[in-house]
């Protein structure tokens, strides 16, 4: 049974005087209970927009998002009943209210889940922080500590799906994998699904059961982590993996990826990756490959 099903999702950003930007242009994705899905892609490919749409923070233009069989409603001015989806945001310096003690902020999450036996200090302990931090204000903490507190607050609400929107990209290299593994362990042990968004493939490899690769608003490849890692099939995935520096010094230079990500307001015709693809064929310039799990004409299912 799937917990979260994103089906053919389109999210458009409209601002007056500018062309409509299709940040997410027909993406489909599923997350099961207890499953960790890593969503990777370059900056500006629509990962964060997808995550925000799943939480109801961005309006859906087309397609559907179902959580637990129910459609996800946009977050309006009404009190949100759907607290089964919680999010950890990217910027640790904006994700906590600077005027309130962190214990009080974690207690908000506990109130959401109706949990009267757990205390904020218990949750701090679970995310690896000392219990007496509950009485302090956010400015007393480092970025990594704040992100742990944000995780504690999200988990206090007992979510069934936890979303991390690049929760580690603002952290020190030393804190990145620790926070990512912590998030994975806590989500999985509570039986929740985790949608982990990052542009850091090596961290995603550590924690994800499945990887979804996003390019210019579309998911181009989905597969088990080990499988994708060992045998990337979409040329874009191959280029992304090739761009990871190898610690042994024996790695090759990143594969040639000419040009930049095209403007999402004006995507190229046919396959969105065709102007940069080293294996481009005629069909790629005409028709968009709208199949999965690898959206590439080289891997068209028969």
């Amino acid at each position: 049974m799937t917990l979260l099903a994103v089906d053919d999702l389109v999210v458009e950003h409209r601002s007056p005087g500018r062309p409509v930007v299709r940040a997410v242009a027909g993406a489909s994705l599923e997350v099961g209970p207890g499953e960790v899905v890593g969503l990777v892609g370059e900056s500006g490919c629509g990962k964060s927009t997808l995550a925000r749409a799943v939480c109801g923070l961005n309006p859906v233009t087309e397609g559907s998002i179902t959580f637990d069989g129910q459609p996800v409603t946009p977050l309006g001015l009404r009190r949100r009943k759907l607290t089964g989806i919680q999010m950890v945001f990217q910027d640790p310096y904006a994700s906590l209210n600077p005027r309130r003690r962190v214990g009080d902020q974690i207690a908000d999450g506990l109130r959401t889940s109706g949990d009267t036996t757990t205390t904020p200090a218990d949750l701090l302990e679970r995310v690896g922080l000392p219990r007496d931090f509950a009485g302090r204000h956010p400015h007393e903490f480092s970025g990594g500590q704040r992100q742990r507190i944000a995780i504690a607050r999200a988990l206090a609400a007992r979510p069934r799906l936890l979303i991390g929107d690049e929760p580690i990209s603002a952290l020190d290299a030393s804190a990145q994998s620790k926070v990512a593994t912590l998030m994975r362990d806590l989500a999985v042990s509570s039986g929740a699904g985790l949608l982990f968004i990052s542009h850091d493939l090596s961290v995603v490899r550590l924690i994800a059961d499945r990887i979804a690769v996003m390019y210019l608003g579309r998911i181009v490849e989905v597969g088990g982590t080990a499988e994708v890692w060992a045998n990337p099939r979409h040329p874009y995935t191959q280029a992304l993996l090739g761009a990871i520096p190898k610690p042994d010094g024996l790695g090759v230079l990143p594969a040639e990826l000419p040009g930049d990500v095209p403007d999402p307001a004006d995507p190229p015709p046919g396959c969105r990756f065709n102007p940069r693809c080293p294996m481009v064929m005629d069909v790629c310039r005409d028709k968009e490959p709208d199949f999965g799990p690898v959206a590439c004409w080289l891997h068209e299912p028969r």
Binding site: L57, R79, R80, K81, F89, A94, L96, N97, G109, R153
Partner: protein, 282 residues
Amino acid sequence: MRRLRLPEAWRQPLAVVGGVIALVWLVVAVAAPLLAPHDPLAQDLPRLAPPGPGHWFGTDQLGRDILSRVMHGARVSIPLTLALVALSVLIGGLLGACAGYFGRWVDETIMRVADLVFAFPTVILAMVVAAALGASLTNAVLAVLVVAWPAYARVTRGLVLGVREREFVLSGRLLGFSAWRSLRVDVLPNVTGPVLVLATLDIGTALLLLSGLSFLGLGAKPPSPEWGAMVASGVEVFDSWWVATFPGLAILTVVLAFNFLGDTLRDALDPRTARAIKERAL
């Protein structure tokens, strides 16, 4: 309030002068019955006597001691002004916060009304309102309130717009905060600083406007020792300069003191936000 202790901002000469003057006036306001040498309403001194021993600020045309009247005037003007500014902050701030947070028709309605008030010259509108309500000190306060709240509404709205999309506010909403709780817990505490600066700077303006209405006969009624009304009665006897000068000086010093304090508070809090506010408030 932690940042208010920043020493260098408060060690400026203007900050010290402003603080001392404001403190002196507050003491006078509290202790006027003990400090004043005469009954402010008793008409038992020689009429229009120039400043001298026994009546250091002179006497007015009814033989009342001007020093005592100025001191008792502090009991009228200062509490009223403070209450007035507090009410303006409360009403304007809440309306502005709702406009910024809820947006759409709430925003349109509140801000168009605010624009309506902004479109009139402040003093004229206050005069019209005070005249329509009838001349009394309470009505003068109401009149100034009508013209004073939009500045707070506008500033608060702008600040709330900046805060409401911040991630901790969104996190709260995802945890199931109602809009009111989100506004109260996450948004308002993060916009109070700059609004406080504006309020302190506004105390002087509010006092001036309130005295102005009394000066025009739309505020305090005659025996009451209100500064603006006293200046007005002094204008009738222009040759006796002391009758109008001393209450005028009282207004001047209070306005100056609170302006100095407001400037200091602004510099002590984040200077960048303060500059933005000043531009928007003007």
